[in-house]
């Protein structure tokens, strides 16, 4: 095991330096959805499939909400500069406050939809079948 400890320490320093550099160089912007088409494409990648019938994009492209034919609701939330799909629980209350859409069990999410927010208020989200964390490969 000789040489393992200094090698580890050197690697640890290199990792810290690279992460700091990534930060300093500005690779810390939030994700931005460029268009409804991009949001639609990302919704379609949801596990089990999700075909948006109705879709709204946050004004800054910071999130999106969609409903499919069966009445299921999902949102795209930022994860770093990428996005992940989150199913909205069946029956979760959807309310609006000053042009922002709020979803009951996603306290950190705020969709800035302007007048369009009203359109989504009172949406009765249908339940999703259990989506487990088990995953397929890339």
């Amino acid at each position: 095991m000789d040489g393992v400890a200094p090698q580890f320490l050197g690697s640890l320093l290199a990792v810290a330096a690279l992460v700091a550099l990534t930060y300093i160089m500005g690779f810390r912007q939030a994700g931005k959805l460029e268009s409804e088409a991009e949001a639609r494409e990302l919704f379609r990648l949801a596990p089990g499939g999700f075909e948006p019938a109705d879709l709204a994009l946050d004004h800054d492209g910071a999130a999106a909400i969609a409903r499919d034919e069966q009445g299921r609701v999902a949102v795209l939330v930022p994860h770093g500069n990428q996005f992940v799909v989150r199913p909205v629980k069946g029956g979760a209350a959807i309310t609006a406050r000053g042009g922002s859409l709020l979803i009951a069990d996603m306290p950190r999410l705020r969709l800035h939809l302007g007048d369009n927010a009203r359109h989504w208020v009172g949406t009765r989200a249908r339940g999703w079948a259990t989506t487990d964390s088990n995953a397929n490969s890339g």
């Binding site: 990792v15 690279l18 160089m25 912007q29 994860h79 500069n81 990428q82 397929n136 890339g138």
Partner: protein
């Protein structure tokens, strides 16, 4: 431990990541990296070197024991090197295909795929649980065939080093002959994609010919933008979660499953469920093909 080429390559890895960062900044590819994602990837890489140091001795011992019972002894003759490298790459193909088609091995391999980014730091997301998952069994046949354990390990290390540089979006396409024979950034982008058409394709390590031979090849076709990661994206940069989530998920599934289905959650393909409530990559591809053909007919 015998000579480990990977240890000597680490400074080169660091320098190349630095180069890719600068290149991405200059060319406006501001989304190529994300600092927390980079942190997670590099931490996984660092952790894997510890896991490797802890279990490396056992891997060597197993290779030596297998070599000792082998009726063949090839020794250190020069021609054994290229032969060993090619056969080790074939063993890697079999390992890697199993890593995507058997959930037990996938639980260990998944952390290589769970970043939504595809850059040189992604390459270092190597497994911590490879030994526990018994991944070494795929290399034992080489020792049984008479190759020197030290030679096998050096070839495996060189293979891993080769795979580093292909984790990039900077390189688009290389000359045709190279793309035909070698694993390339283009081929491996396909492997990391979650787009339905690309799921479970291009398992190659160094030579893409194995995928062409065994029917698992897909070319990057540019029809839709590649999205990286896993079907159920993690949505967190948590290191421990990234490393162990699939082991936990699998344990949970085995626990809850009816007795006669318990083992199936270990050895069947990821996404398999006894009640059909989930999707395997084949099911995702079929669903995508159905939606495509119904769009075409409209």
């Amino acid at each position: 431990m015998p000579f480990d080429p990977v240890a000597y390559a680490i400074p080169v890895f660091v320098a190349m990541i630095l180069g890719e960062l600068i290149w991405s900044r200059r060319t406006g590819a501001g989304h190529a990296y994300e600092w927390r994602d980079t942190g997670t990837s590099l931490a996984i890489g660092l952790g894997s070197t510890i896991a490797g140091a802890l279990t490396g001795g056992l891997t060597v011992a197993l290779l030596v024991a297998t070599h000792d019972i082998s009726p063949f002894a090839i020794g250190w003759v020069w021609w054994a090197w290229p032969l060993c490298f090619v056969l080790d790459d074939l063993a890697y193909y079999v390992f890697h295909r199993s890593a995507h088609r058997v959930r037990w091995f996938w639980a260990s391999h998944v952390n290589h795929h769970s970043s939504q980014h595809y850059n040189l730091s992604t390459a270092l997301r190597q497994s911590w649980t490879g030994f526990f998952a018994l991944s070494f069994i795929f290399r034992l046949p080489l020792a049984l065939a008479g190759f020197e354990p030290g030679m096998i390990l050096v070839c495996a290390g060189l293979n891993l080093i080769y795979q580093f540089w292909i984790h990039t979006e900077v390189v688009k396409r290389l000359p045709r002959w190279f793309e035909a024979v070698m694993n390339t950034p283009s081929h491996h982008r396909v492997h990391h994609a979650v787009n339905a058409r690309y799921l479970d394709r291009n398992y190659a390590g160094t030579f893409i010919v194995w995928d062409r031979m065994f029917g698992t090849f897909a070319a990057e076709d540019g029809e839709d933008r590649i999205r990286y990661g896993i079907v159920n994206q993690l949505g967190t940069f948590n290191l421990a979660y990234a490393v162990f989530h699939e082991w936990l998920g699998m344990a949970r599934d085995v626990w809850h499953a009816p007795w006669r289905h318990k083992l199936s959650y270990l050895w069947r393909v990821p996404g398999w469920s006894h009640d059909g409530s989930r999707e395997t990559s084949d099911m995702i591809r079929q669903r995508w093909q159905r939606s495509r053909s119904s769009q075409d007919s409209q």
